[in-house]
Amino acid sequence: MKRLNQDHIIGIVCIILAVVILVTTRSFPKATSGASDLSGPSFYPNLLAYVFIICGLLEIIGGFRKQAGRKPFDLTHFWDSITRPGPLNILLTIALILFFIFFMEVLGFIVSSYVTLFILMWRFGVPLFKNIVYSAIFVLLLNVIFAKIFMIYLPSGVLDYAGL
């Protein structure tokens, strides 16, 4: 029994994505004018979905051809691999960007960006005093560049109450 490798996974993902596109476009309205369905909104995405299916099939076939030199797809050590310091750094970065997205409006730009910077620098091993200073410098710099020079609106959030 041949085992799945990376090329097979890529091929399968392509085909799944293409099927999702083909299913979603079925709800798109049909063209009311022009030559057949060519002017409809589903024509072009469907065309791309077929290209994706062809690519996916070629990738799967290619995966069988190159089976010998490929590492089989294995999920047994998945948990061990993501709990090492490196992958945890990635997960924390993603979590802090999500924190920025969801709390920037509420907490305000200054607070949310300072929290994001401080936690990231702490995690990446910047000494505490430098961390406090660098985070403050970054926030100040960002505020001057974006809010003062380029006049881009940055929410004040909780600092609004303090009149800042």
Binding site: Q6, I9, I10, C14, L17, I21, T24, T25, F28, P29, A31, G34, A35, S36, L38, S39, P41, F43, Y44, P45, L48, A49, V51, F52, C55, G56, L58, E59, G62, P85, G86, P87, N89, I90, T93, I94, I97, L98, F100, I101, M104, E105, F109, S113, T116, L117, L120, M121, F124, G125, V126, K130, Y134, F138, L142, I145, F146, F150, I152, Y153
Partner: protein, 495 residues
């Protein structure tokens, strides 16, 4: 001559140079584009003479396009979309400790490319603009496909993976309101998705954040400086390289200029196409993407030359070549000028002043750009852990600043994760970005073309310029196998 001397008046010179410094500053910050820099400058020019305003606009755009290459080379984050192609070899050169040489080459090629672009603008502007006007939907479709097929040539790894990446970019480009019918596709009720996916946040995520993820995986390297080398720009070694690759510079600048002159195709597409062409014809094509000089020279000569090209349809016909010249046209009308064929007769003096400003801007770029490289080098000398955090926060806030939208920050994150996994799987990133940029152009021209021809594909092949593009694309995709087969046949016959 009087027009040339008049531009050195202090009322023009001072704001012009200040605008160029601003261009270096803005272009080097990911998320802030050359278009944004120009848009910021225009309101400041309201109360100035037209030539002072146009000098500021020209200066800021040339500087911002160059400065975008600085973070692209040092950090693998393009400062502006036009720097996308310069990442590939520029960043690899930095990793080899040759980042300063890469940027010195970049700067001089930007200046030379810019000069060639302006000379073309001056001498053959009307001819080129007339050629661009012959393009209909059929030709524009093939032009965009030609640009995409270049990305298949550019990409490392297998061609299938290149096509997968390209198609993914084209699929992402279909998200949002369908221009032809007004139907919101794949937006699932979200108003933000209806506006589509902006390629600037996508690019910051794909190239910037995915690279950050790679570094944060290795905590042991956190204390190292981001760039280790000392900045030592040897103009002698740059001069030798420029002489060696003189034909490549000339060819890339001409390609960049021609592409820039086509409405809708700007410095970003010009850089990719010329990179692809350079790779295709080079004897060292296998080494492209590993940090070789040709990989820097081709895109950087092309992107600044394209700026000259974008002014051709803008000045001659009043059609913007890209977003920057679209703002320029608005500004010119604000100054009471009417761009079009008559501007050469009615405002000949001003046109000569514009040409003079464009040429002198290149000399200023050489000086200001050199200081820009030094300034950013000091910034990037900090330990990697501090710079990484800085990149993350600038990417996040820079993408937010584009449209004051947190949705765009989400796009940066999404594309950062996608880019990270694509790199693990060996799928090249550049075709995805090019697909995202060229997607709307391909779809619109394909659909409108098909409707015009009652569903027939024949006009896509029977028109002379379309046919020429089609043949070029076939050569790009199947040139190598055809040559290999014919060589094998020839050898067999000989034996």
């Amino acid at each position: 001559m009087e027009a040339v001397l008049s531009i050195f008046h202090l009322s023009i010179l001072v704001p012009w140079i200040l605008a160029m410094v601003l261009g270096i500053f803005v272009g080097g910050i990911p998320g802030l584009t050359a278009t944004m820099a120009v848009a910021l400058i225009v309101p400041l020019t309201f109360h100035m003479s037209p030539i002072a305003g146009l000098a500021m606009i020209l200066g800021v755009s040339f500087c911002a396009i160059f400065a975008g290459d600085i973070p692209a080379t040092f950090l693998r984050i393009p400062g502006t979309p036009a720097s996308g192609a310069a990442i590939l070899d520029g960043y690899e050169m930095t990793r080899k400790g040759k980042g300063s040489l890469a940027l010195a080459l970049d700067l001089t090629c930007s200046v030379i490319g810019g000069l060639i672009g302006i000379l073309i603008l001056i001498f053959i502007a009307p001819l080129l603009a007339k050629f661009a006007l012959k393009f209909t939907n059929f030709e524009y479709f093939w032009l965009a496909v030609f640009g995409l097929s270049m990305s298949a040539v550019i990409s490392r790894g297998t061609r299938i993976k290149g096509v997968i990446s390209m198609t993914l970019g084209l699929i992402f480009a279909t998200i949002g309101i369908d221009i032809t019918t007004g139907y919101p596709r794949f937006s699932f009720g979200s108003t933000e998705l209806m506006a589509g996916i902006g390629f600037i946040p996508a690019m910051i995520g794909l190239f910037g954040l995915s690279e950050v993820f790679k570094y944060v995986l290795l905590p042991e390297s956190f204390k190292n400086p981001t760039i280790k080398e000392r900045v030592q720009i040897s103009f002698k070694s740059v001069g030798t390289l420029l002489y060696r690759f003189k034909l490549l510079i000339l060819r890339s600048a001409i390609i960049g200029n021609v592409i820039g002159a086509l409405p809708g195709a700007g410095a970003d597409i010009a850089a990719w196409v010329s990179y692809g062409m350079a790779k295709k014809v080079s004897r060292r094509s296998e080494e492209f993407g590993t940090g070789i000089e040709e990989g820097i020279i081709a895109p950087t000569s092309a992107n600044n030359s394209a700026l000259g090209g974008t002014w051709i349809p803008a000045l001659v016909f009043g059609i913007p070549g890209d977003t920057i010249t679209a703002i320029v046209l608005g500004a010119m009308m604000m100054y009471g000028l009417k761009p079009g064929p008559l501007i050469f007769q009615q405002n000949a003096y001003l046109v000569n002043q514009i040409f003079s400003v464009a040429i002198v801007s290149q000399i200023f770029l050489l000086i200001i750009g050199w200081f820009g490289i030094r300034m950013y080098t000091y910034v990037f000398k900090f330990p990697r852990n501090v710079v990484l955090v800085g990149i993350i926060i600038f990417s996040v806030v820079g993408s937010y600043a584009l449209r004051s939208s947190l949705f765009d920050v989400g796009i940066v994150l999404l594309f950062g994760v996608i880019g990270y996994f694509m790199e693990i799987c060996g799928i090249p990133l550049p075709p995805l970005i090019l697909g995202l940029i060229l997607g709307p152009m391909i779809e619109d021209n394909l659909r409108v073309g098909l409707v015009k021809s009652d569903g027939s594909f024949l006009p896509f092949l029977t028109r002379p310029i379309s046919l020429a593009f089609f043949i070029l694309i076939v050569i790009i995709f199947f040139g190598d196998p055809i040559i290999k087969c014919s060589r094998a046949l020839f050898r067999r016959r000989a034996t």
